[in-house]
């Protein structure tokens, strides 16, 4: 009988999971992370009054400092990393209305998630772009268009780049799409061109997609990924400043530029 009871106890122990949290995944969340865990972390920190920034699922410095302040206040190791102990302490001391937060993100509303204030009073409706951030994507990320970028680049930059890539090179291989975005960024570093991504793209006569209006087509995720890779430093064009389609180019001048390589239909040159 004793053996049976011990066996039952042992078996039941196997099914007992250490209580970490109701919603956080098992992942350790730290600076640079992105996604649902970060949304929950930001929302819980905001509930307790430590985080005053935007709940966007991006673990940047704002979240980092807030987390450190929380760890300091609750007697935890202050490392700015949300491990098991930190997440447990957060879950035990805060509330997280996942439906509310995810809904507001999906609608593109500006909102907060402070404790002690009715949630309906924390929403400014119609302040966001529902189509840009509302497509709940398969990976469970906070937004389909929102991305983490290196310092000095903005969401606007990546949106413009993606539009240019899609308008100019949507039929090209992925490498060719990254190369088109890289050409725009190479112009940003060149003294021969304007100083912002927007001015470069909309410089008169610079891009066919601007002239024929294809720049305004909605870019697909592939074009956005290509823009992101270029912003992160990839340059399959190998420092090119121009590209052209040899089958359709009408300018004599473009043929005088020193050529580097061909990707798909485009020749890239200095």
């Amino acid at each position: 009988m004793k053996k049976i009871i011990i066996s039952i106890l042992m078996c039941s122990l196997l099914f007992v999971q250490p209580h970490v949290s109701d919603a956080f995944s098992a992942q350790v969340v730290q600076r640079g992370a992105y996604g649902d865990d970060v949304i929950e972390l930001q929302a819980r920190l905001q509930y307790l009054g430590f985080y005053n920034g935007r709940i966007d699922g991006k673990f940047g410095y704002g979240t980092y400092w807030a987390l450190r302040e929380f760890q300091q206040s609750y007697g935890l190791d202050v490392d700015g990393i949300a491990g098991k102990a930190t997440k447990e302490m957060l879950v035990n001391n805060s509330e997280y209305n996942e439906n509310f937060v995810k809904n507001q993100i999906a609608k593109g509303n500006r909102f907060t998630h402070y404790g002690g204030i009715p949630l309906e009073q924390q929403v400014q409706s119609g302040t966001g772009n529902a189509t840009a951030s509302g497509n709940a994507n398969t990976t469970g990320n906070p937004s389909s268009s929102s991305m983490q970028l290196p310092a000095n680049y903005s969401e606007r930059d990546i949106q413009l780049l993606a539009n240019a890539v899609y308008g100019e090179a949507r039929g090209e291989p992925y490498e060719g799409q990254v190369a088109v975005a890289a050409v725009i960024l190479n112009r940003l570093e060149s003294p021969d061109f304007p100083n912002t991504i927007s001015e470069i793209i909309f410089q008169p006569r610079a891009f066919t997609a601007v002239a024929d209006g294809q720049i305004w087509l909605t870019p697909n995720p592939r074009a956005k990924e290509a823009a992101l890779d270029a912003i992160n430093g990839w340059d399959p064009s190998e420092n090119a400043l121009y590209y052209f389609n040899p089958k359709t180019a009408t300018s004599e001048w473009i043929w005088t530029r020193p050529q580097i390589k061909q990707i798909g239909e485009h020749i890239f040159c200095y």
Binding site: Q27, V28, Q30, R31, G32, A33, G35, N52, G53, F59, G60, Y61, G62, W65, A66, N137, T138, T139, N141, S144, M147, Q148, L149, P150, A151, N152, P173, Y174, E175, V178, P191, D192, F193, P194, E199, Q203, P204, R205, A206, P221, E225, L228, D229, N232, G233, W234, D235, P236, E238, N239, Y242, W253, P258, Q259, I260, K261, Q262, I263, I267, Y270
Partner: protein
Amino acid sequence: MKNAVYLLSIVVVILGLYAFDAKREQHALERAVHAHYTNELANASEKLSLLHTTIAQSMLFQDEKALHNELDTIWRVSNDMRNSISRLPLHQDVANEWMRYLGRISEEAKNADSLKDANKWREKMTVVNGNLHALTEEWEVATANYFQQDGDFSKWSKVTNVETANSPFATMSVNLKSFNETDFPLTASESDYQKKRELKNLMDEPISKTEAIEKFKMYFPKIDDATITVTKSHDDAAYPFYHVQFVRGSRIGYADITEKGGHILSFLLERPISKDVLSHEEILESAQKFMKKAGFEDTEVTEARENHEAWHFVFTRKVDDALVYPDSVHVKVAKDNGEILGINAMEYIQKETINKQSENPIDWKQFFGEGVIIEDEKKIYTENDRYDLRLCYEVIARLPNNLYDTFRVVVDAENHEVVQIDALS
């Protein structure tokens, strides 16, 4: 029959009205564009005239304060004119040369203001002033027609679409090219920077196409059975390289490998990414393993960013106790299985030459305002705006507010010049 004629008449009238309306809209748009371009042209002409006058005026002064005012105006006006030029439908060639020339004037004014050397400025600007005088006259001749035209936009667009050699800007284009070279020759640092970018310092033996494929398979053994196509860079490329394109099932991508020494410049792989997600530690470990295997052992992680499908890491070369930021490798790793999706080692291959430089430690409490919190301090090497590689202190500092505004501040370790400030989100 009568009905058919009646219907046809109605259709003709509707089409006529539609065509009339469309034409009217087109004219309205053309007039708006015409007005915009004329305005920008007039702005550019005024600024050119002002710039020329101010440069001449600046040469009057030895007094620091009087010179400062003129240099400040030159810096501002040359930038404004640069912007106006970028908004005009000039031929790319003419616009590029103009922007380069104006940019150099602006930079010169900024440097002269910080160096406070009136003699050097005067020496340089004597030539620029003469050339700018010539350019002003040529600009007036080239653009005169634009102001005299009768509002017919088709004449405008006809002029803007011709090649430079046949346009009113032909002489100006040739002169601008020449003045850019004579008035502002490359400095030693700029020349070194150019050589580095063109991989002129790479002295390894050239490899063959077959060896390039072997290198590719060595770097990426998991896709060594892919269908591979190799082409060589065009003859005009600053550095010769092999362009390896591959397909293996749903995996499609490329790798550029230098001809000299077979160094990997960049690599990207595209494939569908599943919903599975590995932990940050597992993904980082995968990146670190690759870096070790590929021979980038003297690096450490300096940046990590997660996105929808992948993590982007930056590994930076470490020399003694300082990070050499211009020698970095970018790695893209799939979130679902830790596969390497991208490598960008161009900067690492360019490898910086590190010169000795003295250090004067900084008391950050004195350097920053009251309450500013410093999280981290590192020694780094980075380029200043004159393309000199400098040993610097990199400090992560935040303002004492509840929004946690955080900045990366880079300060020259020797002369304490602030080299860079980035707002960190």
